[in-house]
Symmetry: C2
Subunit: 242 residues, 2 copies
């Protein structure tokens, strides 16, 4: 029997790479979906392609220009905040790296692709423990999107008899970064292929992480938590001049 299709949002970071591995473990035939949205860290798309290739799954990249809107440090000329410690991250406020309505837009495209491919399952690698305080990473947001998805599409008016509802899977939502890393190692995720930094240097076509943005700090905390060495390159550790 052929495996059912699923759409996995793949940013190229360690969360979404783990999500992809979990979708495979759940028995799906995943299509990985990434976006060239004007992000300053567009090198993550190469990471996403490498992760999809390593997993042997189809990779779809959609071009959308969020830079036309601006409003975020990731898509406009606003500095990405840097900290010396993970404790400096205040998840009770929405940081300037928040991209307005990004996950709503990404999930909308995932829904469109799911409908075209006959998939009923979407995977999104959000988590609420070690995160930056983005409104569109919270469980209530995910639930509201799932509700919308089941009204927005053909299945909402005329579901086939054998069709279940559209489900938005968020298998990492209650895991710490350390637990996500541990789960990834169990599933064979190659963390060398992942990139998390919001503001990487690109040296010889490869990203070198800044080590001090929220995303780097959370990643490093996770590797410290599990007592593993993070296999990617950081500016401060490896003598690369920022």
């Amino acid at each position: 029997m052929s495996r059912p299709a699923a759409i996995v949002l793949l940013s190229g970071g360690l969360d979404s790479a783990t999500c992809l591995a979990l979708a495979l473990e759940d028995g799906f035939d995943p299509v990985a979906l990434s976006f060239r949205y004007g992000q300053r860290h567009a090198v993550e798309l190469d990471a996403a392609a490498a992760i999809a290739a390593a997993a042997g799954v189809e990779h779809v990249v959609v071009d959308i220009d969020l830079r036309a809107f601006g409003g975020s440090a990731l898509t406009a000329d606003i500095d990405v905040p840097k900290h010396d410690s993970v404790d400096a991250i205040d998840a009770s406020t929405v940081p300037v790296t928040y991209v307005p309505a990004r996950n709503t837009i990404f999930l909308s495209f995932a829904l469109a692709l799911a409908e075209v491919r006959g998939a009923r399952d979407l995977y999104l690698g959000v988590n609420t423990l070690d995160y930056s305080g983005y409104p569109d990473c919270r469980p209530e947001f995910v639930d509201a999107f799932a509700r919308l998805a089941n009204l927005a599409t053909r299945a909402g008016v005329a579901p086939a008899d054998d069709e279940g509802p559209i489900v938005v899977h968020t298998p990492l939502i209650e895991l710490t970064k350390g637990e996500i890393i541990r789960r990834g190692i169990e599933l064979g995720v190659d963390h060398r292929l992942t990139t998390s930094c919001y503001d990487p240097l690109v040296v010889d076509g490869q990203p070198v992480a800044c080590g001090r943005c929220d995303s780097c700090l959370l990643r490093r905390k996770g590797f410290a938590e599990v007592g593993r060495t993070d296999p990617i390159r950081y500016v401060d550790e490896q003598g690369v001049t920022p």
Copy 2:
């Protein structure tokens, strides 16, 4: 006092042109938002630009490639169905001109733009009486999106004291096509600038409507209902060879 911003989805058709006029009448300072999404009737973007210019409002066009997904007669090599009469339209099934998750995607971008511009009001020209049976034109879809919008954004976590909720206005939702046309005439909408056809010929850079797709048939029914002559050109009436 300056008028508050609002985002109006503007396709270039008569519904969205009327919506824009209503947003102005409601006292907003609208930004019109259109999409170059790979639609076969891309001439509607010129219509949208002309409508926005006539109304004196800013017009933002976002490029997104829904053709990469396909799955619709509007974005793939599937014929647009033609009928001899409006009675042949069966709104109880979803037609092949439905574009998977299109309104979800469009509203997501409208939400992003609203957040960047500090707008709390979105306008969408859907209606449920004279329509083609698209799942993402129904009131329950609009309500679910409004609920999502208020969880998805900065305002969902940290609303400012003077901020109301995000509202999705659908002022046409219970109007017939004839009532929409009458309302447009009252508001000074120039129907010559609007285009409704899914499959127009383009003659000297101007669209000439097929007259027989669902959208043309509903439009013609509306003009007949109000006893007005539709000022746009149709293939069958004006001696243009299809």
